[in-house]
């Protein structure tokens, strides 16, 4: 199977070259995207096939790269699970782009990079040695950076691109360190050799910490997330969908691969930072999503939340695995992987919705939208599925993974360490807070964009989006519903990957009646999304039928009541800022929220103004000082540019002596 996957990646690469050769003209846009869609679909099939048949790992060596090493590729269950995710997300985004890409003003800035970006992500998943892994990772970063800069004429996007480049470079550097440490003195650079190396617990902990920084900066862990909410929205919407829905998962794959496969056993206390950072990221991410006024940025912040949720699950899995509770580790890891899949579905869907809205109205600002449910009914319906899923509400898929994660949290009393026993419930509380805040966030998102009255002319005259886009969104929405009502299929699908990582899988869910989910034991907990769906549909339908039959079915349209004082001005509606006000006020200390009221003096007829500001404490407290320090240091080192040749030589000489001395002491 690896051959098919590798050649598909090669096809994607070729597509990139073809698109470059055609100078990325709009005429080839549909063909390129169609090619990408087919390739991604093939990748998804390969992934599903590998998982479903429980085929063993297949490997191959390609004679490219470093001459005496070549590139090792391997497809095992873990890669296959993420390959399925990538293929599905990539196929949906590509189909969407067939329609969406037509509106692109500068297609030559997207088309050459897009297939290559997909290919690079595929290669990260297939890599079986550190060199291939890091190279593909870096290519993935660079190509996505190029895509972020598509609309480079806007100042904001250029800043975003710069920030992203710096953070991506930093992340890869840290990963390089981590792999270097893992390879050890013997230079075991392919993954098979790395698994054999014995490491001290301290070294393993250090590697895990470095992976958290390296992969976490790509995935969006706090406080390394600062680039994500500016870079993801800056790209065209189908690329945003890929970056948020798929690329963050590729970063997760890197972490899972190292933490659960290459690194070997890790001490229990190393799970503590993962759980803590994950839970804090979840809450902070969704808090920022709750107060931001830009539609796509809201979605990007919500990605940070979901990454936090997944990392918490991974941390729990690490804790259970360190205590040799393979079954429970499998529960936590399954929750994490299934949530990753689910997040790919609904986040891609929502970014596509945001793209459709952007195309129809030209507005990203929430407060310029409103009432689109009348103008774009199909998009609005699909968006409703997406927001219900992401808000973790039954019977859709977001709830399934959250529910499994809570079940794993509820098992924490079985852990022997009192520290974890206290920590995990608190983290569970944070996760519940994040889930509830997500509901608030997406009521706001959907309510301001689709409901109410239009707040601008553009929103008043918007039209429904094209068929390709609707097809892609519809497919994702259908997946969200299916994964919600028959989650057992998805869970059984990722079971081989989980087994590879923690040595045990969840009990097979396929045999349960009514598609019920029974993660641990029947007496402990169970949930059937299918039955909940059926019950709601039946009782809601029956109620509606009875009421219409026995009661009244008359209906009259009239102006809104609004306590007798309706105001025709759409500004009087609740907007994004006003909806966020309660949460902004309650959470003011964490959000550094400030409200300033400018009241004109009596007699002056100018309008009073209320300005609300929030700031990201990570940015002001961590990054600003670093930036200031780098700036100051650069000014200092500026003097080095004006030395004589003799001085330069003595600098070189001095450092040589220093290194030699160091070497002497080292030995």
């Amino acid at each position: 199977m690896i051959e098919i996957a590798a050649s598909t990646a090669l096809c994607l690469l070729m597509l990139s070259f073809v698109a470059t050769a055609m100078r990325g003209r709009l005429a080839v846009s549909a063909a390129v995207y169609l090619g990408c869609a087919v390739s991604c679909f093939a990748l998804a099939l390969v992934g599903v096939w590998t998982l479903a048949t429980q085929a063993g790992a297949s490997a191959m060596r390609v004679p490219v790269g470093l001459p005496w090493l070549g590139a090792h590729l391997r497809l095992d269950a873990l890669s296959a699970a993420f390959l399925t995710l990538l293929g599905t997300g990539g196929a949906a985004a590509s189909v969407y782009a067939i329609g969406y890409g037509r509106h692109e003003h500068e297609p030559h800035r997207v088309l050459p990079f897009y297939p290559g970006f997909l290919a690079a992500m595929t290669l990260v998943l297939l890599a079986d040695d550190a060199f291939t892994f890091l190279l593909s990772w870096e290519v993935m970063s660079l190509l996505s950076w190029a895509l972020v800069l598509t609309h480079h004429r806007e100042e904001e996007n250029r800043t975003a691109g710069y920030l992203y480049l710096v953070m991506a470079g930093f992340g890869t550097m840290v990963l390089l360190l981590a792999f270097g440490l893992m390879a050890g003195a013997g230079g075991a650079y392919d993954f098979a050799a790395m698994r054999e190396v014995a490491r001290s617990p301290a070294l393993a902990a250090l590697v895990l910490a470095l992976m958290m920084v390296g992969a976490g900066s790509k995935a969006g862990l706090m406080p390394l997330h600062v680039w994500l909410p500016v870079a993801h929205p800056a790209a065209p919407s189908h690329v945003s969908a890929l970056m948020s829905g798929v690329m963050t998962k590729v970063a997760l794959y890197g972490f899972v691969r190292v933490a659960f496969d290459l690194l070997g056993p890790v001490a229990w206390w190393m799970s503590v930072p993962v759980v803590v950072v994950g839970a804090v990221t979840a809450v902070m991410g969704i808090l920022f999503a709750n107060v931001d006024g830009d539609g796509k940025r809201v979605l990007a912040y919500s990605t940070i939340e979901n990454i936090g949720v997944i990392f918490t699950a991974l941390g729990l899995a690490l804790a259970f695995r360190a205590n040799e509770m393979a079954g429970l580790a499998a529960l936590a890891l399954t929750a994490g992987l299934v949530h990753a899949m689910n997040h790919m579905m609904f986040k891609s869907l929502l970014f596509m919705v945001a793209g459709a809205v952007l195309n129809a109205t030209g507005q990203r600002d929430l407060d310029g939208l409103g009432g689109l449910i009348h103008r774009m009914p199909k998009t609005a319906f699909l968006a409703l599925v997406g927001v219900t899923a992401i808000a973790a509400l039954p019977p859709l898929n977001g709830f399934v993974s959250e529910w499994m994660l809570f079940q794993a949290v509820l098992q924490s009393p079985n852990l022997p360490q009192p520290g974890l026993q206290f920590l995990v419930p608190a983290a569970g509380g944070l996760l519940a807070l994040a889930a509830a805040l997500a509901a608030a966030c997406f009521v706001r998102f959907y309510g301001v964009v689709f409901l109410g009255r239009p707040r601008s002319d553009a929103a008043r005259e918007a039209g429904e989006t094209d068929r390709w886009s609707l097809t892609a969104m519809g497919a994702l929405a259908l997946l969200c519903v299916l994964a919600g009502i028959v989650p057992g299929v998805l869970i059984d699908l990722v079971a081989p990957a989980v087994e590879l990582a923690v040595g045990a899988g969840l009990p097979l869910q396929a045999g349960n009646s009514w598609f019920t989910l029974i993660p641990v034991a029947e007496g402990r907990s169970s949930y059937s999304g299918f039955l909940v769906m059926v019950f709601i549909a039946v009782s809601g339908g029956a109620a509606a039928w009875l009421v219409h039959r026995l009661g009244s079915r008359r209906l009259r349209r009239a102006p809104a009541w609004d306590c007798g004082l309706p105001n025709a001005d759409p500004v009087t509606q609740y907007g994004s800022g006003s909806f966020a006000q309660p949460i902004r006020r309650v959470m003011a200390p964490v959000l550094a929220a400030r409200e300033t009221v400018t009241m004109p003096p009596p007699g002056d007829r100018a309008a009073a103004r209320l300005a609300a500001r929030t700031e990201d404490l990570a940015w002001t407290r961590v990054y600003m000082p670093i930036i200031a320090f780098v700036g100051a240091a650069a000014t200092r080192f500026n003097a080095l540019q004006f030395l004589t040749i003799r001085r330069y030589l003595s600098l070189v000489f001095g450092s040589l002596i220093l290194l030699l001395t160091g070497l002497t002491i080292w030995n």
């Binding site: 009432g371 449910i373 009348h374 808000a391 509400l393 039954p394 709830f399 529910w403 809570f406 079940q407 949290v409 509820l410 009393p413 009192p418 026993q421 206290f422 419930p425 569970g428 509380g429 944070l430 519940a432 807070l433 509830a436 805040l437 509901a439 009521v443 706001r444 959907y446 309510g447 409901l451 109410g452 009255r453 019920t516 007496g523 907990s525 169970s526 949930y527 059937s528 909940v532 019950f535 709601i536 009782s539 809601g540 109620a543 009421v547 219409h548 209906l555 009259r556 349209r557 009239a558 009541w561 609004d562 759409p570 009087t572 509606q573 966020a580 309660p582 949460i583 006020r585 309650v586």
Partner: protein
């Protein structure tokens, strides 16, 4: 045989909760009226109100969308399904494994989500204020509820309500301060979720201070009836939840005969009456808080849930 018995039981349960819910609301109103030395409307008044609303025509705002018209049925259905899965008078419900305590909470969350969306639909400022505050309250009530569920699951070893009830009724629990804390936490969450004083005042005429009523301001006729019924069901659900977890006496066991079921039903009605009386007493003796004091109030529930868990760890680890 057992299967059909359980199925019938499930059907009876669905009808019982539906039939009793408006009565409970009427009872609470009656108690409150008597406590403030008014005569008050008869207990059956909510039934009459519902009938009247069902027969009236719907006056729909001009720019209301299909979501606005579908939401009442969704809200009602989600709440009804949730209420039907809580053991009220008997444990052996057929579909009790469909959703555990956590899923039940989330199901109510779905209802809230659609209610808040409906509040935003017409685009009035009252709807918006109601929705935004409701979501804020929900954001703090849900974690408190989860931590409470955590405490209970730790004691009973399950999140499945029928198993929890069976365990609680078995008397193995002993005296646990954590359970007391969980009870208080659940009561606080219940007050907030049901828009009762001190969090919200359903009877107020000051629109700016209300949450739930502001959200449903635009509803009329049969739609309003569905929403009112859902609100009554939710109140009943919380009472039944408190009753079955903390006062599980008298609930008919898994394979009880008709006599046992009848006794269970009678005791359930008594529990509801007692709960309603206590709620009325509490509501008349306390003032509504400012909206921004509510997070503190819910923070107490959150804290109690966490403290209960911590204390439970102590007694477990010794």
């Amino acid at each position: 045989m057992e299967l059909t018995g359980n199925l019938i039981l499930q059907g009876v349960q669905m009808l019982v909760v539906l039939a009793l819910a408006p009565g409970l609301t009427g009872l609470v109103r009656k108690f409150k009226a008597r406590l403030t030395r008014r005569r008050g409307a008869p207990v059956v008044q909510p039934y009459r109100d519902l009938m009247r609303l069902m027969r009236k025509e719907v006056v729909l705002a001009e720019n209301a969308s299909w979501l606005f018209r579908v939401s009442p049925y969704m809200i009602f259905a989600a709440t009804w399904v949730a209420a039907a899965l809580v053991p009220t008078f008997a444990i052996g419900l057929h579909f009790t494994w469909t959703a555990d305590l956590i899923a039940l909470v989330a199901l109510l969350g779905s209802a809230r989500f659609f209610l808040a969306l409906a509040g935003m639909d017409v685009g009035t400022s009252f709807g918006g204020i109601g929705s935004s505050r409701e979501m804020m309250i929900g954001a703090f009530a849900e974690p408190a509820m989860l931590l409470m569920a955590f405490t209970i699951a730790l004691v009973a070893g399950s999140t499945q309500l029928s198993n929890i009830v069976a365990f609680m009724a078995s008397g193995e629990v002993g005296i646990r301060v954590s359970m007391g804390m969980a009870l208080i936490a659940l009561i606080i969450v219940g007050l907030a979720e049901n828009a009762r004083i001190p969090v919200d005042n359903p009877a107020t005429h000051l629109e700016l201070t209300m949450v739930h009523e502001a959200m449903v301001l635009e509803y009329s006729g049969r739609h309003l009836a569905m929403i009112e019924l859902a609100a009554s069901l939710k109140l009943l659900l919380y009472m039944a939840l408190i009753g079955c977890v903390f006062f599980p006496w008298g609930i008919a066991p898994a394979n009880a005969g008709v006599g046992g079921l009848a006794i269970g039903g009678a005791i359930f009605v008594l529990k509801l009456a007692a709960g309603g009386a206590l709620l009325a007493l509490f509501e008349t003796s306390i003032a509504k808080m400012r909206v921004f004091r509510v997070p503190d109030f819910l923070g107490v529930a959150l804290m109690l849930g966490l403290l209960g868990t911590l204390l439970l760890f102590v007694s477990r680890s010794l």
